[in-house]
Symmetry: C2
Subunit: 177 residues, 2 copies
């Protein structure tokens, strides 16, 4: 078997999404050779908490569609929302996530979901890494001059890098590489 690094997604543009309604982290990276990943863009979409839920979902949808039109991702990596989350806004996050996945499906862009612990393990080697460790690792991996802020932006980058590194291995496991 060839070394895993030979099976990179080199050239593939991955959009990472940390779903949320009040703040949604968006990132765009391009997979390079081996484990190298090139950062292209990172940002956060916010929607006003005092607006109607449906109108906030529309704002979010328009923003993510603009990103997809601007950067033409080949694939989307999004965090899986859990029912057992201890966050009080989990339902809003799940509604937001539905709208975000729809935007990808409308363009025929494949969507891959990762749990927070899968992302943490992939990036830092520790499924329980804290926010500071994750931000530190993602800053180093992408060779950024300063840490991405806020945390949602760093999380969106981590999701995209996680996909760049895990997807080739998943294809090997599935016998497709």
């Amino acid at each position: 078997m060839a070394p895993r690094s030979a099976h990179s997604l080199a050239g593939v543009r991955v959009m990472g999404i940390d779903p949320g309604l009040t703040r949604c982290g968006l990132s765009m990276v391009q997979a390079g050779k081996g484990r190298s990943v090139l950062p292209i863009a990172v940002g956060v979409v916010r929607t006003p908490a005092d607006e109607d839920l449906a109108d906030r979902l529309l704002r979010l949808s328009l923003a993510v569609e603009e990103w997809m039109d601007d950067y033409s991702p080949d694939v989307v990596a999004i965090e899986r929302v859990f029912e057992r989350s201890n966050v009080s806004t989990v339902m809003n996050t799940a509604h937001a996530s539905g709208v975000l996945m729809l935007a990808a499906a409308k363009r025929g862009i494949a969507v891959h979901m990762y749990t927070p612990s899968e992302v943490k393990k992939s990036i830092s080697g520790n499924g329980r890494a804290d926010k500071a460790q994750m931000t530190n690792m993602i800053t180093r991996i992408l060779g950024l001059s300063e840490p991405p802020k806020p945390a949602d932006a760093a999380d969106a980058l981590a999701l995209a890098v996680c996909h760049c590194w895990r997807a080739p291995m998943n294809l090997i496991v599935e016998g497709q590489l």
Copy 2:
């Protein structure tokens, strides 16, 4: 104060949605004078459980947009999804709900959310009414020749009728009528 029945939504077209990904109930009614409600359409959208989540959300979105284009609702009444629901598919229902609300917001259609117990109380006078009671009541209220099936279709009709009856009272409470 004038009798409440004077403050009906007469002429308003209400779309009721019982959100779901495997089965989503859709209904259309038109509010009449007083408490009368005219049934216009009822149906269920299904998406295949073996398809990717994002593709299922796209199917659901296209189906609900077609309904909105065909029937031009003035307002949407949708069931509020609860985190504490004991249904294992609550996250899929929440994703679906986000996509359904987005379809309304894109068209500038107002969205109103009701809890299952609000709907039950409004239709049957009992917030804990069972499915058989609810189906029986909605069949009588709308003067249908036979009970709507499956349960999701009956629930979608109940949501629309609930809005026709509650919205005028809510406006009185808010001092807008």
